[in-house]
Amino acid sequence: MKLKALRLHGFKSFADATEVQFHDGITAVVGPNGCGKSNISDAIRWVLGEQRPSAIRGGKMEEAIFQGSLGRRPVNRGAVSLTVSNEDRLLPIAFQEVELGRTVYRDGGSEYTINRSACRLRDVVDLCRDTGLGANAYSVIESRMIDAILSDRAEERRAMFEEAS
């Protein structure tokens, strides 16, 4: 399986429809403070089914919808889709390419899609189980996890291990 593309529209600071293409090897994401880089890693976690608003720095899921700026009005929904190639059939589904989608609305509710068909969160979770893909798979590593995993409040470290198992 390989990441192919990530699309964001109305998710956090990505008010306009935006696409990131992925390639083999190491991709650097650069830019000034506050320009939206960590919002991209939030989007990846989120589209894979992250259920805790705090994991994407929010208090409620609807805070991930573009809230407007001094020059722009807020919007009513935030959407992210992640496209992966599936030639190795790592995802147990008969498609060469799989697109996982998620949209959140102002009431805080999310809708999920697999290849543009509506599905439930658990379908996304089941699809990703044991593939290493999925919100808890440690595939997004950020600096605040450093203090958490070395915490001398050992329940913090314990919790991180349990997520991985």
Partner: protein
């Protein structure tokens, strides 16, 4: 469930130690269950000692040493069930020049099997990347992504050609 956790735990421990010894070019680290008879509830103890230094509590390690130790453990967990990709968000911020080099070499070792997405401000990390995306906010509060620049489009100091 207990068996699975134990298996996973041994793998995590082995991966952790290997990654640690690579990033620290030696030294020693360990991971163990405070209470092996109660794996599902037990605290997980961690210990790390950079090369030539006497073993000490984790809190006394420096900022950069803690970052590398945590990265060894997080990566150790990741390697048990590796995803096709791994996003690293500014984990290189506390690292000095030589540790950035070791961090880069770690990524290069695994990049054949893993697409790494590295969010960074560090010129050396940027230089080592195969692809670069720039994120900007020309309009305040609105992000967009400006094009891909391959490594050979950068001049020596890491600035756009």
């Amino acid at each position: 469930a207990t068996g699975l956790f134990f298996d996973t735990f041994d793998q995590i421990r082995a991966n952790f130690q290997q990654t640690f010894e690579r990033l620290f070019q030696g030294g020693e680290a360990d991971l163990w269950l405070a209470d092996p008879d109660d794996p599902l509830e037990s605290q997980i103890e961690i210990h790390a000692s950079p090369r030539g230094k006497k073993t000490q509590r984790i809190d006394l390690l420096s900022g950069g040493e803690r970052a590398l130790t945590a990265l060894s453990l997080l990566f150790g967990i990741y390697l048990v069930k590796p995803s096709p990709f791994c996003v690293l968000d500014e984990v290189d911020a506390p690292l000095d020049e030589s540790n950035i080099e070791r961090f880069i070499r770690l990524l290069q070792e695994f990049k054949a099997d893993t697409q790494f997405v590295v969010i960074t401000h560090n010129p050396r990390t940027i230089e080592a990347a195969d692809w670069i995306y720039g994120v900007t906010m020309e309009e305040p509060g609105v992000s967009n992504i400006v094009g891909v620049r391959l490594e050979d489009a950068l001049d020596v100091s890491g600035n756009a050609a």
